[in-house]
């Protein structure tokens, strides 16, 4: 390969690499989001009132 060919190939590889790194960063963010959604889903599937202190009915009036 001549020098010009090497540099041109390098330029295209740089474009490819930057786009791939960007997609990788997005994928990592998506993975974090999925993890958080699962945590939230776990919280919602716990029955209501669990863990709350028991309350006695208070007379009104």
């Amino acid at each position: 390969m001549t020098t010009a060919e090497k540099y041109v190939t390098a330029a295209y590889c740089v474009v490819f690499a930057v786009v791939l790194v960007y997609v990788l960063i997005l994928a990592l963010k998506l993975q974090r989001l999925e993890h958080e959604v699962e945590k939230l889903a776990g919280r919602t599937s716990a029955p209501d009132g669990e863990g709350e202190p028991s309350r006695e009915p208070a007379p009104v009036g």
Partner: protein, 238 residues
């Protein structure tokens, strides 16, 4: 729980073109462009093989301008019509523009090395313009991240994005004017004759870059909206 869930902001309306279709189109177009660049387009008479960098360098530059223009448009919609999603869309456009702007600087630098033996050329208008815009839009992120999320951040970001699009032609004029002061000799960058396969290759590369940018924009926007929804959910559930 259903009443609480009703207060969570809905995801923005889905655009007409589904994201997988966009991604597939990007793949086909970028592959097609690469094939044309390396196997079909003829060598330029003046610059030889190194001229092939321009197919992507120029199309990436125009895509970056399109991103900045899109950001300014969304910013204008935010300020004028108070569209609720415009701020986030403007931000993602600026982000895309900055990424493509960085690619312009990198590919332009490589071209400068091949042609003139230096990694940087002050005589090259487009490169200097992108350097100025790069500094400007980096400051956009500094501005945005030193404000709490809210209407003030959205307003200031929108106004700054509008300044940016005005800066593009003004800076370009300034850089042309500065040539007389710094470099009396004017170097021309784009010398190739735009005919035949060169034109076809360039057009395919340009469309490929625009579709790629739009795909990445939709991808990032979807991720950010999902992030916003998760935050809202957390606030409701905690």
């Amino acid at each position: 729980m259903s009443a609480a869930a009703a207060t969570i902001r809905p995801v923005g309306r889905t655009s007409r073109i589904p994201l997988p279709a966009l991604a597939a189109a990007s793949l086909v177009l970028v592959t097609g462009a690469l094939a044309l660049v390396f196997f079909v387009a003829p060598n330029d008479a003046n610059q030889g093989f190194s001229q092939r960098i321009f197919y992507f360098h120029v199309s990436i530059a125009i895509t970056a301008y399109a991103c900045f223009a899109g950001a300014a448009w969304k910013a204008f919609l935010h300020l004028w019509k108070r569209e609720p999603r415009a701020d986030l869309e403007s931000y993602v456009c600026v982000h895309q523009g900055l990424i493509f702007g960085t690619l312009v600087l990198l590919t332009g630098s490589i071209w400068a090395k091949i042609s003139w033996g230096h990694w940087w050329l002050w005589s090259e208008d487009q490169l200097v313009l992108f350097l100025v815009l790069f500094l400007f839009y980096c400051a956009y992120f500094m501005l945005r991240f030193s404000l709490e999320p809210g209407p003030q951040r959205a307003n200031l970001s929108a106004v700054y994005a509008l300044f940016g699009i005005v800066l593009v032609p003004v800076s370009f004029a300034a850089i042309r004017l500065a040539k007389n002061l710094i470099h009396p000799v004017v170097f021309t960058l784009h010398g190739p004759n735009f005919g035949g396969w060169i034109l076809v290759t360039y057009c395919v590369a340009q469309v490929a870059m625009l579709v790629l940018a739009y795909t990445l924009y939709r991808l990032e926007l979807g991720g950010k909206r999902l992030d916003q929804r998760v935050r809202d959910l957390k606030e409701v559930l905690v």
